[in-house]
Amino acid sequence: MIKLEKVMKVYPGSSLAAVNNVDLEVPEGEICVLIGSSGCGKTTLMRMINRLIPITSGFIYIGDQNVMDMDPIELRRTIGYAIQQIGLFPHMTVRDNIATVPKLLGWEKRRIDKRVDELLDLVQLEPAIFRDRYPRELSGGQAQRIGVARAMATDPPVMLMDEPFGAIDPINREVLQDEFLRIQSKIKKTIVFVTHDIHEAIKMGDKIALLDAGRLVQFDTPEKLLTAPKNQFVKDFVGADRALKRLDLLRVEDAMLANPVHCHTTDSALEVARRMQENGINYLLVCDSENRLEGYVAFRDIMDHEGQVGDRVKPMTLTVGLRQNLKDALSKMLTYDIGVVVAVDDDNRLKGVLNTMTFARVAGQTYDEQGGRWGKVTAGGRIL
């Protein structure tokens, strides 16, 4: 959808190329994150796509059209544009801000009003409350949402976003990122997204393009960038904790131990206790007949109980969803100081279990660079 071929940018009076021979292809409906330290040319590259910065040499295509053949003003009206400092017009209301491009395109008033309300709903701001506010009456997060809404006003197939969540505190940034991903899963835009935050890149990107001094160093999926960094620069950039970052990418269902051992509420307590003793386990998960999670039982509670397991079941306060990422799950596990996290589906059906072992297995999977393994570490002093 967006295709860059041997794109170069040399600023007048400079002997160094700000962007050097970059080839890039962003398929339709994907988010391509441009990342790198400041001055690496990522913003320059993005701004060449809508020709805010003239291209020195090379070709940029949107669809099958060369942007150089298009009128720059027309071109920019077909591309959504959101920037870090948001750049809402302070003298216009939220409505007029969002309506900027529709007005330039001469939409009629009724259509604009309808679209504005639609977009405010989409970014979860109550239209009746926010429509007539001025930017200075908005919080940073609200302004950022309006900025994104404005960029989407005419439903452009392509969007350029320059650190759109950069100026926001970390908590709200997470919220906005999640929201944006939710929106993106519906609208499927082709997006070029500039950031310097590797976490954001991993979270938002379908593909990540890492730039250094104007050159494209690696262009890969986040997974690949973390597990197979091309060279030392990439390794340094993604950070020594890249194994942990990978937890961001993986979902609970990818890592959990599926179909864990459990019993039903109606099972005989003594039977279950006997089985637990045989297997040397102290706690056991309990489900109802529909396999919905009821809680757990401790061995000492049922060892001399003449009845059903269900009488002694304790509720499970902490569960995770299948599609949550592993970082959240690990964080819950550490916060509540529990040995296992139980994964359930939307109907609370028992699906799997995560424990420290599963985390270690997943995080360590591709990271042991020498390819060796520790195996099970046991006590016992010298091996020989």
Binding site: N50, L52, I73, E74, L75, R76, R77, T78, Y81, I83, Q85, I86, G87, L88, F89, P90, H91, M92, T93, T100, V101, L104, D132, R133, Y134, P135, R136, E137, R150, L160
Partner: protein, 249 residues
């Protein structure tokens, strides 16, 4: 509108008392006597004064604002400091001298007066226009450009509305000063309330002089008020220096 505050009401009272005292003093100087006897002459001179101010300010604005805009466009930016300095030097020349210089070329009459007033009123307008436009946050210009505004749309929809407050402040200053300076046009035969002021001074007749000075002052205060109103109508309440509280809060 904000409800009048207690201290505001107190000040209004002080002002009224002061005005009353001044009025009584003027009365004792024979000011009202002259005015009572010659209302028509004062009125004609007042209209003449208004005409001088109106015409010269209108010309100043219609030259100054476009020039200010021009000086902030890319291709003219390099002349900006240079032209502002020249204008600054012009402004340091006393208004009387400007009128005198204008007279040596244009002779005597209204035209000379208006020419001098235009020259003298230009600087605050141009300077504020340049300051206002170059003070517009570059981020919103980038946003506008990135969304596909052409230079004209950028100027009229983004730059001017955002610079409006400062541009208007320049026009306001220029016009209010103009009301005072216009009194000097009497010296080159331009007429106006300066007629009464200067004759009054020459004849050491305070009543005669005040009959010119008071309407001039009132006119200046009125102009100041008028531009305050215009500011309220034209400057968006979304801008932080606008005084109107926004209702939606």
């Amino acid at each position: 509108m904000k409800p009048t505050s207690k201290s505001g009401r107190a000040w209004t009272l002080v002002g009224l008392l002061f005005a009353f005292a001044t009025g009584a003093w003027f009365e004792s100087l024979g000011f009202f006597e002259f005015s009572k006897n010659n209302p028509e002459e004062i009125w004609i001179l007042f209209l003449e004064h208004l005409q001088l101010v109106g015409i010269s300010s209108a010309i100043s604005i219609s030259i100054g604002v476009p020039l200010g805009v021009l000086l902030t466009r890319g291709f003219m930016r390099r002349y900006r400091e240079w032209s502002l300095n020249i204008l600054g030097i012009c402004q340091t020349v006393p208004s009387l001298a400007v009128i005198a210089i204008a007279m040596t070329y244009l002779g005597i009459g209204k035209k000379t007066a208006i020419f001098a007033l235009v020259i003298y009123g230009l600087l605050p307008i141009i300077r504020n226009c340049v300051a206002g436009l170059s003070g517009v946050d570059p981020v919103i210009l980038d946003a506008g450009r990135g969304m596909g505004m052409n230079p004209r749309q950028l100027l009229f929809k983004v730059e001017l509305p955002n610079a409006m407050y400062i541009i208007l402040a320049g026009i306001r200053t220029s016009t209010v000063i103009n009301v005072g300076t216009a009194a000097m046009s009497f010296l080159v035969g331009g007429g106006g309330l300066g007629d009464l002021i200067f004759s009054g001074i020459a004849m050491v007749d305070a009543g005669y002089m005040l009959a010119g000075a008071v309407p001039t002052a009132v006119l200046a205060i009125f102009m100041n008020w008028l531009f305050g109103r215009i500011e309220k109508w034209t400057v968006s309440p979304g801008l932080v220096y606008a005084q109107t509280p926004v209702s939606a809060q």
